[in-house]
């Protein structure tokens, strides 16, 4: 029973994932693209939950769907009509090559996974209840991966400062009157 339930959820989430992904990439209107991204992120969160990564799923929804996409929507609103760039166009060779390259990557990796590592991936160990819980993640962050924790906070700081500078207008430089002039 549980197995079937999981499978159904999985299939639904995966379908939503692909559909919204294609939607993001193929919509002309950037607003619609951003909204599709929200759906994408949400289905990803579902998949994360199925992988017993609760904290990461929560963070995904909070950070991504809650903050990043909101940022995108703000900028889209600010840009207004100019956000609409013509769809693809330009070089035909580029379009064709892009399709081919992306497909090639996908196919190759699938082949790798199926052929090379098919058997070994089937053994999934049992994990304790606390696997992926905020408590254990937090413990890890503050013990084994303390450096990563601190560095990420610095990265955020830098990004914030950078964003502020990029977004602000620089006031014209005001010359103080020099000594001799009156």
């Amino acid at each position: 029973m549980e197995e079937t339930f999981v499978w159904i959820v999985w299939v639904l989430a995966a379908t939503a994932l692909f559909a919204s992904g294609l939607a993001v990439v193929l919509f002309h209107n950037p607003f619609y693209s951003a909204l599709s991204l929200i759906v994408n992120l949400a289905s990803l969160a579902v998949l994360f939950l199925l992988l017993t990564a609760e904290f990461v799923a929560a963070a995904q929804v909070l950070v991504y769907a809650g903050a990043v996409v909101v940022m995108f929507l703000f900028v889209t609103a600010y840009l207004g009509g100019r956000a609409d760039a013509p769809f693809a166009g330009g070089r035909t060779l580029q379009r064709l090559a892009a399709i081919v390259a992306a497909a090639a990557i996908a196919v190759e990796v699938v082949v790798v996974i199926v052929l090379a590592a098919g058997d070994r991936l089937n053994e999934v160990p049992e994990v304790p209840e606390s696997f992926g819980s905020p408590a254990s993640i937090g413990t890890l962050f503050l013990s084994d991966h303390l450096l990563a924790f601190e560095v990420t906070s610095i990265i955020l700081l830098v990004a914030a400062v950078g964003g502020v500078i990029l977004g602000s207008t620089v006031p014209p430089h005001h010359h103080p009157p020099s000594r001799g002039e009156r």
Partner: protein, 102 residues
């Protein structure tokens, strides 16, 4: 583990990556390119978490969180660039922004 095996998750991740790559390669609006970039990063996250579950090790999840932080920061900076470009009345077309070359 209930549900499909790890391989399925990996295949999903790869296909999502391909969709994101396709989007980066094909769209001309920098905004959409950034969105497609987010999709690619997320697919990477999915793969990380799948392997973390497979290994029974939470380090993968830590890594995924770090990736998320980086992706967010990069989105901030990228959007800031777009805003600055639009203020300079530049054409928001990736094909037209070609001054970075030798």
């Amino acid at each position: 583990m209930a549900g499909p095996g790890i391989a399925a998750y990996l295949i999903v991740s790869v296909i999502l990556f391909a969709i994101g790559a396709f989007g980066v390669l094909i769209r001309r609006s920098p905004l959409i390119v950034l969105l497609a970039l987010e999709i690619m990063l997320n697919s990477g996250n999915l793969a990380l978490l799948a392997f973390s579950r497979h290994a029974g090790n939470e380090d993968g999840q830590i890594f995924a969180l770090a990736v998320m932080v980086v992706a967010a920061s990069e989105a901030v900076v990228g959007l800031g660039l777009i805003v600055a470009m639009s203020r300079l009345r530049a054409d928001l077309d990736v094909d037209k922004l070609t001054t970075l070359r030798g």
